[in-house]
C-alpha cells in the first residue's frame, strides 16, 4: 500500500492482479476460496438433489422411535422398547468405557516398556524391542481378530463346567470362569443395602458406591493435608514426622468400617441353565478389543516414552548421580519431569487414536457407537446420512474433549518460563 502511493503516475490496472507480486498472492487466495466454497456448495446441493430423487428427507426423528433390538450387557438399563437415542447413548458409553480403560492400560504398559527398552539388561531390552516392533507393524484389526479368535477357539464353552466331572473348572477359588463367550467374575453384594439414588431416565447409582467414593476422595484430600503439615514441620524443625501410618489409616479405616457396615461380600457366578448367572459376565468381544487396543497403542506409547527419556541430556543423570541421588530417585525427580514435556503432546495423539480405533469393535460384536448408531440403527432405519453425520459429530466432540483435557495437563507440566 505504501509502495503504491510512492509511485505517482502508475494507476491500478487489472493485469496487476496477476503480474504484480503485491496482489498476486491475494488473487490466488480469493480464487481458491471461491473454488472451495463452490465445491462445498456443490456437494451439499448434490446431496440434497439426490436425496430428493430417492424421495428421502433429512431428519433426526428416527432417534425417538422404538429401537426394537437388544444390546448385550448394556452399561445403563436398556431393552428393545427403548429409543434409538438411548441405544446410541449405550453405544457411546461402551465406546467411552473401552477407550478410557484402554488409555489407562496402554499408558501403564507403554511407560513400563519404554523404560524397559532402555534397560541395561540385554535380553529384557531386546524382548521389549520385539514386542514394540511386532505390535507397531501389524494392523490393529488383525490383533483384535486374533485375540478374539483365541478366546473363542481355545476357551471352553460354559457347558464344559457342567456335570460331575466337568471338563473345565473355575479358577481363583471357584470365583472366575473363563469361557469362550465371556469371563464370568464375581459381583459385589451388600447384606445391608441402603438402596440407590435415582438420577432419572432409569439411571441409578447405589448409595453404597457414593459412600465409598466420598470416603476415598475425602481420604485423598486429608492425606494431602497431612503431607503438607509434615512438610511444614520439616521446614520449621528439620525433622519430618512419620506419616505413613496416618495416611494408611485415613484411607483404610473408614473403608473397612463401610465394608463391615454394608456387609460387602463377593457373589461368585454359578452355572444355571445355559450360562453363568449371579456374577458379572465380561464379554469376550470387550476383552479382546480392550486387550488389542492396549497392546497396540502401548507399543506406540513405549516409543514415545523412550524418545522422551532419551531427549533429556545425559548430563542431567550424571549431575543427579553426582548429587548422590539413587537411580530410581533420579528417574522420578530429574528425568521424568523433563521427559514429560516431550512425551505429553504425542501421547495426546495416541489417546485420540485409541479412541477412534475403538470403532473397530464391530469386528468382535462389541456394541460401541459404531455398532449401535452406525450399525444396527442405521440399518434398521435406513438413515445413513443422518446416522453417519451424527456419529462423526460425536467422535469429533469426544476427541476434542480428550485433547482439551490433555492440553490442560500439558500446560501444567510444560517448562515454566519466567
Amino acid at each position: 500500500m505504501v509502495d503504491i502511493s510512492a509511485q505517482p503516475g502508475t494507476s491500478f490496472r487489472l493485469s496487476m492482479l496477476l503480474y504484480d507480486r503485491r496482489y498476486r498472492s491475494m488473487t490466488i487466495q480469493v480464487i481458491v476460496f471461491i473454488l472451495v466454497m463452490a465445491a462445498g456448495w456443490w456437494l451439499v446441493d448434490n446431496t440434497i438433489r439426490n436425496l430428493q430423487a430417492l424421495g428421502k428427507d433429512f431428519n433426526f426423528g428416527f432417534l425417538f422411535q422404538r429401537a426394537g433390538y437388544d444390546i448385550p450387557s448394556p452399561p445403563i438399563p436398556y431393552n428393545s422398547d427403548d429409543t434409538h437415542l438411548r441405544a446410541a447413548i449405550v453405544g457411546l458409553l461402551n465406546t467411552v468405557i473401552v477407550s478410557f480403560l484402554g488409555c489407562i492400560a496402554a499408558t501403564i504398559l507403554g511407560i513400563a516398556v519404554g523404560v524397559a527398552r532402555l534397560s541395561n539388561n540385554w535380553l529384557f531390552a531386546r524382548l521389549m524391542t520385539v514386542y514394540v516392533e511386532m505390535f507397531r507393524n501389524i494392523p490393529l484389526l488383525l490383533w483384535i481378530l486374533i485375540v478374539y479368535a483365541i478366546f473363542t477357539e481355545v476357551l471352553p464353552p460354559p457347558n464344559a463346567y457342567r456335570g460331575e466331572n466337568p471338563a473345565a473348572s473355575m479358577i481363583l477359588f471357584d470365583n472366575v470362569a473363563l469361557t469362550n463367550r465371556y469371563t464370568a467374575i464375581p459381583t459385589l453384594g451388600l447384606t445391608n443395602d441402603p438402596g440407590h439414588l435415582d438420577l432419572g431416565y432409569r439411571i441409578t447409582v447405589d448409595w453404597a458406591t457414593i459412600a465409598f467414593a466420598v470416603v476415598l476422595i475425602g481420604g485423598w484430600f486429608i492425606r494431602k493435608a497431612v503431607l503438607n503439615w509434615a512438610q511444614r514441620v520439616q521446614d520449621a524443625t528439620g525433622d519430618r514426622p512419620v506419616t505413613w501410618w496416618i495416611n494408611l489409616g485415613i484411607m483404610l479405616v473408614p473403608s473397612l468400617l463401610l465394608i463391615w457396615y454394608f456387609g460387602l461380600h463377593l457373589i461368585p457366578p454359578e452355572l444355571k441353565g445355559f450360562n453363568f448367572v449371579g456374577g458379572l459376565n465380561v464379554q469376550n468381544g470387550f476383552v479382546a478389543l480392550w486387550l488389542a487396543l492396549t497392546l497396540y497403542t502401548g507399543a506406540f506409547i513405549a516409543e514415545i516414552v523412550r524418545g522422551g527419556i532419551l531427549a533429556v541430556s545425559k548430563g542431567q543423570t550424571e549431575a543427579a548421580y553426582a548429587l548422590g541421588l539413587r537411580p530410581n530417585k533420579t528417574m522420578k525427580l530429574v528425568i521424568l519431569p523433563q521427559a514429560l514435556r516431550v512425551i505429553i503432546p504425542p501421547l495426546i495423539s495416541q489417546y485420540l487414536n485409541l479412541t477412534k480405533n475403538s470403532s473397530l469393535a464391530i469386528a468382535v460384536g462389541y456394541m460401541d457407537l459404531r455398532g449401535t448408531l452406525g450399525g444396527t440403527t442405521l440399518n434398521q432405519t435406513g438413515r445413513e446420512l443422518e446416522a453417519i453425520l451424527l456419529m462423526m459429530l460425536i467422535y469429533l466432540a469426544l476427541s476434542l474433549l480428550i485433547s482439551g483435557g490433555m492440553n490442560i495437563y500439558n500446560s501444567r507440566v510444560k517448562l515454566k518460563e519466567r
Binding site: V32, P157, F274
Partner: protein
Amino acid sequence: MKKSVFLGSVAALAAVTGGAAMAAEGDTLKAVKDRGELICGVNTGLVGFAAPDASGNWTGFDVAVCKAVAAAVLGDPNKVKYVPTTGQTRFTALSSGEVDVLARNSTWTYSRDTDLKLDFIGVNYYDGQGFMVRKDLGVTSAKELDGATICIQTGTTTELNLADYFKANNMSYQPVNIDSNAEGEQQYMAGACDAYTTDASGLAATRAAFADPENHIILPEIISKEPLGPAVRHGDNNWGDIVRWTLNALIAAEEYGVTSTNIEELATNSENPEVQRLLGASDELGAMMGLDKDWAKRAILASGNYGEIFAKTIGEETPIGLARGLNAQWTQGGLLYAPPFR
C-alpha cells in the same frame, strides 16, 4: 502456496465423489444395456441361495433370479456381476446405485418398502425365522431357550423378531452380534452361542454345509413371517416391472408346465394362449416394458422355471433338502400365484 494446492485437491476429490453419486438416479434399464452387464447384489455366501462354487461361479436360488433378469434384458444369463453384500450393507448398496437389483434373501417389510425407498417386486421364497441348536443340548422347543446365548446377524429383521419373541414369552437371552452367515457359523460351531437364529431356509443351508449335520436340529417353532424377495430402487417403475415380471414368468412357466427342455417346442406349437403370450408366440408383451418378444423365453431358459430352479438349488434332492411347503404353486396348495400374462 502449499495450502492452495491442498485445497485444490480437496475440491477435485469432492467433484469425483459427487459425480459417482449422480449415477444413482435415472433410467436403470438404459444404464444396464449401456453397461452390457447387470449388477446384482447377493449374499456374501449362503449355500443354495447364493455362493460361489469350486470354480468361482456364483450359483443358487437367488442367483438364478439375477441370471433370469440378465437373460431377459441383455440376452445372456452370464452377463451378471455379483456384488456380495452383508445384512448391513445391502440396502445402502441398492439405494446408492451400486447394484441394479438386490436378490439377497431379504424380507419384504412395510418400513423397508416405504421408509427405505425400496420396491420389493414379489416373493421368491416364503420363509420364517427358526432356531438351530446342537442336539446334545437337549432342547426341543424355542420356549426352552430362556437365558441362552444366541447368535444373530445384525441389521436384519430376525434381530427384531428375536427381541420381540423373547419379550413376548418373558424370557431373557444374550445376543452375540455377527455380520455374516460365515461368521455366525464359526461362532456357533465354536460353541460361542447356544443357538443360531435366522430364516429357516438359511438354517437348513447352513446346516447342510456342516461336517456333522446330524448333530444339529432346527427347532419346530417358526417365530415370524419372512417373505423373501428381490428388491429394486423406488422410483424407476419400468425397471421394477421388468424384474417383477421376470420372476412372475419363472413362476407362471412352472404352472403351465414350461420347462427349459420343452420350451423351444412349446414356443412354436403350444395350444395354450397364455403360454403363447408368455413365450412371445402371439402378442408383443415384451415391447410394453421396452424389451423384445423373446424376453420371457430367455429368462426361463437361463436356469429353468421356478420349480426347476428350486429343485436344482435348495430342493429335497440337494444337501439343503427344503420341501416346497408354502413355496408350491397355488394349484398344489402353496402360495405361488403369478398374475395373468395378458
